[in-house]
């Protein structure tokens, strides 16, 4: 499992097609991946486990979300 995620991260080009968001409006896609990254970080750090799987969500939300949106959330 850990090898799979590492392979996936190494072969990452851009956010793949997400069947949950097949249409024009991708706002939710950006939001969901951002939230999932932080949830994953919190959950795995609480368990004391390796947080590499969370990297996937970070790559996807970085690809999708405008930098201004990410920065404004951080500064709030």
């Amino acid at each position: 499992m850990a090898e799979d995620i590492k392979a996936k991260l190494e072969n990452y080009h851009t956010a793949p097609f997400d069947t949950r968001f097949p249409n024009q409006n991708q706002t939710k896609n950006c939001w969901v991946n951002y939230v999932d990254y932080h949830r994953c970080q919190n959950a795995l750090t609480a368990k004391g486990a390796d947080t590499t799987p969370c990297e996937w969500y970070r790559r996807v939300y970085t690809s999708l979300c405008p930098m201004a949106w990410i920065n404004s959330v951080i500064h709030e």
Binding site: H13, F17, P22, Q26, L64
Partner: protein, 230 residues
Amino acid sequence: MAYPLQLGLQDATSPVMQELIHIHDHTLMIALLVSTMVFYTILTTVTTKLTNKNMLDSEGIQTIWTIAPGLILILIAMPSLRVLYMMDEVNNPHLTVKTIGHQWYWSYEYTDYKNLEFDSYMIPTQDLIPGQFRLLETDHRMVVPTDSPVRMLITAHDVIHSWAVPTLGVKMDAIPGRLNQTTFVVSHPAVFYGQCSEICGANHSFMPISVEAIPLIHFEDSSTSMLAKI
């Protein structure tokens, strides 16, 4: 790009635009044929010397002129729906580019690997060098590779704008708080121009879009050099 005295659509540089031009020509031809036929019929009806005061109904012709338009509409709908579904096909993009509309310039972000971000302002007319196009040139172009599905995510910072490049067959509104997705594939290397397509204030006509498509092998060099500049 657009040229003087242009009447039709710009030449296609993406497969989708190619199809759109094809159905446009097909539908326009049908419209012209129908209009010509109707005009001729009215002309002959109005100028004829023949009169028949006893003609009351004629079911035959009424059936024909109900069925025939129906068939014509099916003839128009079939290619139209085919292209509509073709545009919606799932394609795993090779690259994601975000564009944010501002008053009055576009900014582009390439964040798949490193965080590359730059603004694209129109070059004012007095600063153009000979050979450049008035109101279309920008200081930094959006660079994309050819033959690669590119995902565009379009949004705005302040008011509604619209990102359009006619030759690629792309037009998508840039709405604050919303991320609109469209994809395109560029067929050959060239520079393409577009203009903001939603009224956004004083300089709405002066925030053009300029896309440069380069062969894939050169694309990485271009991104690296852009990153180094910033």
